[in-house]
Amino acid sequence: MTTDASLLTVDDVHKQFARIHAVAGVSLNISRGDIFALLGPNGAGKSTLLRMLVGITRPDRGRIAWMGRSDDAARVALRMGYLPEDRGLYQDVPVSRVLAYFGTLRGMTHAAAVSAAADWLERLSLRERAGDLVRTLSKGNQQKVQFAAAVLHRPEFVILDEPFSGLDPINQEVFLDLVRGLRANGTTVLLSAHQMSLVERLADHVFIMQGGREVLSGTVPQIRERWGAGLTLILQAPTFSDVGERAVAVHPAVTSAVQRDGELRVEVKPTHPVGDLLAVCLAHFAITGVRTEQSSLHEVYVATVGAAAPTALAAVTATEDAA
């Protein structure tokens, strides 16, 4: 499973709390320089897996290897950054002091940490707040400081657990740019999130978990192709004859054809070529416009994970109680 470019290899990792199998045999591979999204419902085992990667807990079984080595020193060598889901900052301390403290704990000299903290606060438009106590910042600004704390020391690999949660749309865009900036600087990013539209725009690779196991994984186009409902052709014409509609509906590439709001929505099976289908359409209708829609990651997620929602909900409660 390990490739030359593999930075992290997780091989059949298990973690159990009491009788709950929080992570049940997960295997994945993250390449250097990728943005890797770990998705799944609450209680799917994402945070447990991330905690094992960070070294907070250890797997009961399986292997976690960094650049082919599974010892702690290999992980430490990457100077990993971590933004936990359960996050907070020292509230009664000035912002710049908190950042400098975290930087020095990550091995930076005090001077380097102070300088990096100033740079990040400048980038996050918080330079004027450097001397203010953390508790005087808004929630969004505290989250920015938290992000800076996770990446201040220029990690090679950073784990961001729910980086977008609690942020307004403007700040979500800011964080999106920050994560892209990390990748541009060569940092490999592993993130967990529930905001599918953001993940879709950001991630190179998606891994969906449920009940501690992999549900599906791949690049976003691969996932759309393999697990999505396929392409939807939306045809516009003055009228749609019944004969023509039947001819389209029975075409081997078509899943369904439905008239709605004066348009004909034709769902095309994944991986099927549409040239022949378009020819059939042109033969029957005086087409004035065509547009296409693809299955979004959100739809794929809901389709694959949502079906087992009641089971997942029970698992969440049990896992959280056990953890």
């Binding site: 971590y82 359960d86 996050r87 907070g88 020095t104 990550r106």
Partner: protein, 399 residues
């Protein structure tokens, strides 16, 4: 990054978090002001006690002695010849008191209201009567001095290594012990507030990702010990300064401590035992605090008082410091911090007793530190519920 470098960084951070020199200096100033007010009131009380009083005497001829000279007291046996007149004069405020002599050996002292000097008058009259009785025996001055002198007892020991402990050594040893206890109390408050605060502010997971739990806890203990030392030093220092200043303000002789007589060995022993005890109890406290979710509602808060129990025990053993119970407790690690110094100062202790006590205390402190590190590692990441004792013990085996 080196583990001990991280310990140092955490220690400095915790030290700076909890040493608030400005507030502590304000505390010292308040203490000095309260001390100054107290000594001023003491001086006023002295003045009131030494204010001159006039005591009328009725029937002084019946006394077998001459009325003695008492500082601040003037005897007046001429103005009011009868007891009733004298009583009326006391009621009217013309006299402070009247001494009505009823027989050669007794008298009634009538005052408008009770005063502190009446005891001094009674003691002076008793002394004058005894001297008169001795004079009546016509003894020579040497015999009289012999009768008045107290019986002198000097305590000495024959056991090796049990030389008499000087007053200076006792005071320094007691000061070190009290400082240790003060450190425990103030350090506990900081540890408790710090750790539960970090849990409530959701800082713990981020920290554990950067530093190993044991490293974090060690840094905390060192930093907070330093902070407690500063706080205790300020309190003890200002207290000592007040003790030296107050006699001067009151015009009394200063404390007589000869520092030459202080035993460095004994002071070092008490300091070592105190330091080990502080590490042991701070580790215990860190573990307890890590298992507490809400400090305002936790039933575990009274555990804070647990390390103070040996101190109470030590005080109760002050008059039985040589007993087998005291000897056992002076070597038992959970009580040796408080009991050993008391035994060493008050009794003759064989050389091996402090050695055994220190070894056991050091081993226990190290064990507490490791066990507390395991509990801390799991406890600081738990939110919402407090682990049972059974769960906590399971962590000790499995983490």
């Amino acid at each position: 990054m080196n583990r001990w470098s991280q310990v140092g960084i955490v220690a400095r951070w915790e030290f700076r978090r909890f040493v608030k020199l400005k507030q502590q200096m304000i505390g010292v100033v308040i203490m000095v002001v309260v001390g100054a007010i107290g000594s001023g009131m003491g001086k006023m009380a002295d003045r009131a006690r030494n204010a001159p009083v006039t005591v009328g005497v009725v029937g002084s001829l019946s006394l077998p002695f001459v009325l003695p000279a008492v500082p601040g007291v003037t005897w007046d046996s001429t103005r009011h010849p009868t007891a009733d007149q004298a009583r009326a004069a006391v009621s009217a405020g013309e006299l402070d008191a009247v001494l009505v002599v009823s027989s050669p050996g007794s008298a009634e002292l009538v005052v408008k209201k009770r005063n502190s000097w009446t005891g001094i008058v009674e003691a002076a009259l008793t002394g004058a009567r005894r001297e008169a009785a001795l004079a009546a025996l016509r003894l020579d001055p040497a015999a009289q001095a012999s009768l008045a002198a107290p019986f002198s007892v000097t305590v000495s020991t024959v056991s090796a290594g049990s030389a008499q402990v000087s007053r200076g050594t006792r005071i320094v040893a007691a000061a070190v012990l009290m400082s240790g206890l003060l450190m425990l109390v103030s350090g506990f408050a900081s540890l408790f507030a710090g750790i539960t605060g970090e849990k409530q502010q959701r800082i713990t997971e981020q920290m554990i990702a950067m530093v190993a739990p044991q490293t974090w806890m060690d840094g905390k203990i060192i930093g907070l010990t330093g902070a407690a030392c500063v706080g205790t030093g300020l309190t003890v220092g200002s207290g000592a300064a007040l003790l030296l200043l107050i006699p001067r303000v009151l015009g009394k002789p200063p404390l007589n401590i000869s520092w030459d007589s202080v035993s460095p060995g004994l002071v070092a022993l008490v300091t070592l035992v105190t330091a080990l005890g502080v590490v042991m109890w701070f580790s215990f406290m860190a573990a307890v605090a890590a298992t507490i979710d809400d400090p305002n509602a936790s039933p575990r808060a009274p555990l804070l008082l647990l390390p103070l129990l040996p101190v109470g025990l030590a005080f109760s053993l002050l008059s039985r410091a040589e007993s087998p119970l005291a000897q056992g407790l002076s070597m038992f690690p959970l009580t040796s911090m408080a009991v050993l110094p008391i035994r060493v100062v008050l009794t003759s202790v064989p050389w091996w007793e402090p050695v055994v006590a220190i070894v056991l205390l050091a081993v226990t402190a190290w064990g507490f530190r490791l066990a507390a590190g395991k509990i801390f590692a799991v406890g600081v990441l738990m939110h919402g519920k407090e682990p049972s004792l059974r769960e906590t013990l399971r962590w000790l085996r499995t983490v």
